[in-house]
């Protein structure tokens, strides 16, 4: 039992570090290039024009904030939920672009070269799976407050 617990906590710590590292790097590398990011967001053809710029400037900071929360363990459940929502959004955006045959420059890490879209999709699915695992764990270890209260009353 002890072994199982320690093994799962090692996985959780690894997942937190991997996700935090990836998201911090992704956010930090895009902080100074909002225009390039906006150009990439426009190519996905999902968002109305008015939302492109706010997302281009806000997303890198949001990613960095979530990464810091993950590393420090601050509101782990909220951080895991935020990362999961982002990963799901990225996966859907890339998948719909692939389905529509759009040529997109991901610009996920501030890069300017084209990455094959199926590789981007695979990476996003992997990150989504990892974030879902972390979300599930964080709900187990930090369950709803009322449930805790009910347990203590019982």
């Amino acid at each position: 039992m002890k072994k199982e617990i320690s093994r799962s906590s090692v996985f959780v710590i690894l997942a937190r570090l991997v996700l935090a590292g990836i998201f911090f790097y992704a956010g930090f590398s895009k902080l100074e290039t909002p225009r390039e990011l906006a150009a990439s967001i426009v190519e996905y053809r999902i968002l109305p024009d008015s939302l492109v710029w706010p997302l281009a400037v806000g997303l890198p900071i949001f990613e960095c904030n979530l990464a810091i929360m993950l590393v420090l363990g601050l509101r782990l459940r909220v951080a895991a939920l935020g990362i999961t929502i982002l990963c799901a959004m990225f996966t859907i955006a890339v998948a719909q672009s692939w389905a529509r045959g759009l040529e997109i420059n991901c610009n996920c890490f501030g890069e300017t070269s084209f990455t094959p879209i199926y590789l981007i999709l695979l990476r996003d699915i992997f990150l989504l799976a990892l974030s879902l695992f972390l979300l599930k764990y964080s709900w187990k270890t930090q369950p709803a407050r009322q449930t805790n209260l009910q347990h203590s009353v019982a």
Partner: protein, 192 residues
């Protein structure tokens, strides 16, 4: 179950607050959209005039009827020179209809081959010098009239880079179609 959904909602609320905080902080520090969807052609300010390669304090077209677009885009009502104003879709279509100019696509080969604006000349900004050298004879006659370049969309920086490259080559009036290929295609305009 009720507690779970309540907690989930509360977490979602916190995520939304964090997202709004991030976007607000970013907008405060980085400012608003530098390239809004419809950019009106404005008269030049002293700062923008200084940015032009050649100081042209005022430019008077002797016969505006001959060059209606030059008169529309390059000279304001007061006759002051407006340096390289971006063209919106209507102005760009008007420019094409005018038939005396040249439209230049500065995107990558892959993007150009997938689709481009009819009759546009491809001069990728990434390999500008070699492509310009090959097309110099064809492009030189346009040095003293308005040429219009376009890139992928209104945020792509390649348009600005290409504009500077053409100016360095001695082109006097280099306009940018602000919407780029994305707007042209999404508005259902013809592509090749």
């Amino acid at each position: 179950m009720k507690a779970f959904s309540r907690q989930l909602l509360s977490d979602l609320f916190l995520v939304a607050v964090l997202a709004i905080f991030s976007i607000s902080a970013a907008l405060l520090t980085k400012g608003g959209d530098p390239k809004p969807a419809s950019q009106p052609v404005t008269e030049s300010t002293p700062d923008t005039e200084q940015a032009t390669p050649e100081k042209t304090p005022s430019l008077k077209i002797s016969s505006p009827e001959d060059d209606p677009l030059i008169s529309t885009f390059m000279v304001s009502s007061t006759g002051r020179f407006i340096p390289h104003p971006p063209l919106d879709l209507d102005q760009f279509k008007q420019y094409i209809k005018w038939g005396k100019g040249i439209v230049i696509d500065v995107r990558t080969e892959q993007e150009y081959q997938k689709g481009h604006i009819p009759n546009s000349t491809w001069v990728p900004v990434s390999k500008f010098k070699e492509h310009y050298a090959a097309l110099e004879k064809e492009l030189s006659p346009y040095k003293k009239q308005l040429i219009v370049i376009y890139c992928g969309n209104r945020y792509c920086g390649t348009g600005d880079d290409a504009q500077q490259q053409f100016i360095n080559q001695g082109f006097k009036y280099v306009g940018i179609y602000s919407g780029g290929y994305l707007e042209w295609e999404s508005k259902g305009e013809p592509v090749e």
